[in-house]
Symmetry: C2
Subunit: 254 residues, 2 copies
């Protein structure tokens, strides 16, 4: 007896995405079903939105030059990162910031991979809005009720390596709420809030690959999920690690 | 054309695990294949190892009492956590420590869910050694070459919720090394080290569930992976966030 079985597959033959492309075009042969989770790399959302930008267009500020020098980085790239940033947490040995839509990520998640030399790919400004639009368009076009997760690849504290995470969600709650559910012994669970959206994003990221030959769309089938809004980024008030980093910064400036 | 397809399924009818149980007994009907990744919740590894311990056996130190009082926690539970801890990072509003095997986790990952009231479940002391033993025993008993990941559920910085992560690995590298691989434009990738072990652990955790009715073993099939040792926990030297928290602690004590 198998109670839970999921399958996941890549959507292949996705061409190089360019400004103005309709991402749902790539799903025409995907044989979508109701309940599928369509996981889409933010890179192609950005490319379809025309967010590939030449580094030439960024005039580095004094601050960008200072940070770039310490990191042996291109000051125009750091200027691009600053443009997406609402708070700087760590400037060295990597540039960790809070992005405008609330993600804490090195370089605000900006990437120079998979775009031409001398270009940078900005992140979507409101990835959940992109997810909602894509979800609606899938419904209109193919008549299927799916969830959409837009992913990024990001490092983490305390653990090596980067993993796929969700930055935009539509039709699926990023968190599963376990409050009120009982454990084997009838007691309340200690785990109350599970980041299921990121658990799905991580699997999809693994299947996508990062390189040439990778594929930017993965369909996950067989997962039961809830459809409600649930924030994935900690608020300033509840983010204790962010506060600790700020305190450490104040100390080093004192 | 689908290039990557994975499937994952829960192993069902796993009974309540008790001290001395052989976990491979539960895999007899799992129809394992070479290359499968067998993902096992650390809870059942701990139970099979007899690591369910009565809180009565812990005599709280002065320090445990102080921390417990601030957190409105049972001082015996905090004493149990301290026994698994090599460094305390945050004492309030949650107790974040570095465990003896290197994981940074609230309460060292100790759990009172799914054990009887008044008991705590300790984590395995060397989860990768457990993973190796289970992998060898699966090979001996069923003749299959599989990888084994032992998981825990842990919160993360900056993002809400807890997710499944790997704490023990055998036959699979926790990290995929992308160095030297080229992107779409023939440039070196910016992502160099992907935490694939945790991406698999996250998916499995999602399928396991946390509660009564959950299942502690998931088989993941169709993933290509490398078999080598690769650390999942950042070393003290490279853990910049840990250092920032230490600096903040020094400041608050000064």
């Amino acid at each position: 007896v198998i109670r839970v079985r999921i399958e996941a597959f890549t959507v292949d033959n996705v061409p190089r995405v360019k400004d103005g492309d309709d991402i749902t075009d790539f799903l025409q042969n995907a044989d979508l079903r109701d309940g599928d989770v369509v996981v889409i790399a933010s890179t192609i959302v950005s490319k379809a939105e025309g967010l590939t930008q030449s580094l030439e267009t960024f005039s580095p500020s004094e601050r960008a030059r200072t940070i770039a020098e310490r990191l042996h980085e291109d000051p125009r790239f750091i200027e691009a990162v600053l443009g997406e940033t609402i708070e700087t947490l760590i400037e060295k040995p990597f540039f960790l910031v809070v992005s405008k839509f609330g993600q804490v990520c090195v370089n605000a998640g900006l990437d120079r991979s998979n775009v031409a030399e001398g270009f940078v790919l900005l992140l979507p400004h409101d990835p959940s809005e992109n997810a909602r639009q894509l979800r609606d368009r899938i419904k209109d076009r193919f008549g299927k009720n799916v969830a959409v997760i837009i992913t990024d690849t990001c490092g983490r504290s305390f653990r090596e390596g980067q993993t796929g995470v969700g930055i935009g969600f539509a039709g699926i709650a990023a968190m599963k709420d376990w409050r009120g559910v009982k454990d084997l012994e009838g007691k309340a669970l200690e785990i109350t809030n599970e980041g299921v959206g990121d658990e799905i994003a991580g699997l999809a990221n693994l299947m996508m690959g990062e390189a040439a030959g990778g594929t930017p769309i993965v369909i996950v089938r067989g997962i039961s999920y809830e459809d409600r809004d649930s924030p994935v980024f900690r608020s300033e008030e509840t983010d204790i690690i962010r506060r600790a980093i700020r305190d450490a910064n104040r100390q080093s400036k004192a």
